[in-house]
């Protein structure tokens, strides 16, 4: 009997035990679980599980294909994220007025940023896949190089897991479309960005472990 571990939240599927709460009988083999079976804790796709004890896959590290000249200048949207991050930094120091000023700058840059040309879900999924295959392994390798950059590794660990959940949800969307959100809600963890589908938020964030009240419900856009 084998065990499989969710790469997002660490849930362990034990073939010997099954998942009786979710109607999976003890002794159910991994291969017998349906392809659309999801992690009962965080909702990650079956493909995000790794067999316990299996050797880690060697990451394919290719250099991220960004134009280095272009990277010198921050885009308007990057400046917006920089300002909203500093607004959070002010909040943590109980500086509400300064936080509001940085938020004002963040909103200016968001409004000034160019809209995406011909956006679609497929190109979003493609970019997310590229980050998981190249961007995160490359950043992790850089941060693991002595002296280990623990701050960067923490951010990378969370962000990579959140990116895996984004991938799982976009893959589901490919077959189910918006119907996957019928009669349920989508929640975002305001600390790490983890996404959760359900009528209520989880008790704890499966990625960064903050309590459920730090989740916010996301409503659809008014079109």
């Amino acid at each position: 009997m084998r065990k499989f571990v969710c790469s997002v939240c660490g849930y362990v599927y034990d073939e010997a035990k099954g998942a009786p709460g979710a109607g999976i009988a003890p002794g159910t083999k991994w291969e017998e679980l349906p392809a659309d079976w999801k992690c009962p804790l965080c909702g990650a796709a079956k493909t995000e599980f790794r067999e316990a004890g299996a050797p880690a896959e060697a990451p394919r590290i290719a250099r991220v294909a960004e134009d280095p000249a272009d990277m010198k200048e921050l885009s308007a949207l990057e400046m917006s994220a920089l300002c909203s991050n500093l607004a959070r930094g002010c909040e943590k120091q109980y500086k509400a007025e300064e936080a509001a000023l940085f938020t004002e700058l963040a909103q200016y840059f968001k409004a000034a940023s160019a809209p995406a040309k011909e956006p679609d879900m497929a190109s979003l999924l493609e970019r997310i896949d590229r980050d998981l295959g190249e961007g995160f392994p490359a950043a992790r390798a850089a941060a693991e190089t002595a002296p280990r950059d623990r701050g960067a590794l923490r951010a990378l660990t969370w962000s990579e897991k959140v990116t895996r959940i984004q991938k799982s949800l976009l893959e589901r969307w490919k077959t189910e479309g918006e119907a996957m959100l019928a009669n349920t809600g989508v929640w975002v963890c305001t600390i790490c960005g983890f996404l959760y589908i359900g009528s209520e938020p989880p008790a704890l964030c499966p990625v960064c472990k903050v309590p459920g009240w730090k989740f916010e419900k996301v409503e659809g856009r008014a079109q």
Binding site: E78, L82, F102, Y108, A112, L170, V188
Partner: protein, 205 residues
């Protein structure tokens, strides 16, 4: 002058109000739940007395941000670019899932840019960023007043870097970083005792 001051996390406060009785200056006795920093002398009695752990002592002068290697910064910058591009794409798509991904990507981007070097609003690079925007506003409607107010209200916590660029040397034995205009020949690492010859200059940002 004390180097710390008391802050109250109102979410944890259970209104036992022991802080009112132990504070020697009345700093905790305010109408708006915020401890009066002008009165607080940093003695820590309120934090020790609070039964719900709602008061903590915060440093007046924040320590400098964690340094990151150029390789880490470049890799984090590339991910920041990617996450903001995903935010841009998701922002152009209808539906609740796209709205959720847009939000999620922004939260990730904020965390990544934090670890790419922009952690403290008081840091030298955050202040440089604001100064550049004030000197060269990106458009006529840029809220310049907000940037100016921020520079004024958030004094830098890296006074050395704001005067003249300093160099950084790193101890090859323990990783201790020495900052200054030059490394004295008879310098010994305050952490591990290694001599100046064990130090190598690192590119400072």
């Amino acid at each position: 002058m004390s180097e710390v001051f008391a802050v109250r996390n109102i979410r944890l406060c259970t209104k036992d109000c022991l802080c009112l009785y132990v504070c020697p200056t009345g700093a905790t006795d305010t109408e708006n739940s915020v401890i009066d920093t002008d009165k607080c002398i940093g003695c820590g009695r309120c934090a020790a007395a609070c039964p719900s752990g709602a008061i903590s002592m915060a440093p007046k002068e924040l320590p400098p941000q964690q340094a990151h290697s150029d390789a880490v910064t470049a890799a984090m910058d590339a991910l920041l670019r990617s996450k903001t591009e995903q935010e841009r794409t998701a922002a152009g798509l209808p539906g609740a899932l796209a709205a959720a991904i847009e939000r999620s990507c922004r939260i990730q981007a904020e965390d990544i840019v934090r670890e790419a070097g922009y952690m403290l609003p008081q840091s030298g690079n955050a202040r440089d960023f604001l100064r550049k925007l004030i000197d060269n506003p990106p458009s006529a409607d840029f809220p310049k007043a907000a940037a100016e107010k921020l520079l004024e209200r958030l004094p830098g916590n890296e006074p050395k870097q704001e005067k003249k660029p300093v160099k950084t040397w790193k101890c090859s034995v323990c990783g201790y970083l020495f900052e200054g205009e030059s490394l004295p020949e008879d310098f010994a690492c305050p952490i591990c005792g290694a001599p100046a010859s064990k130090f190598t200059e690192v590119a400072s940002r």
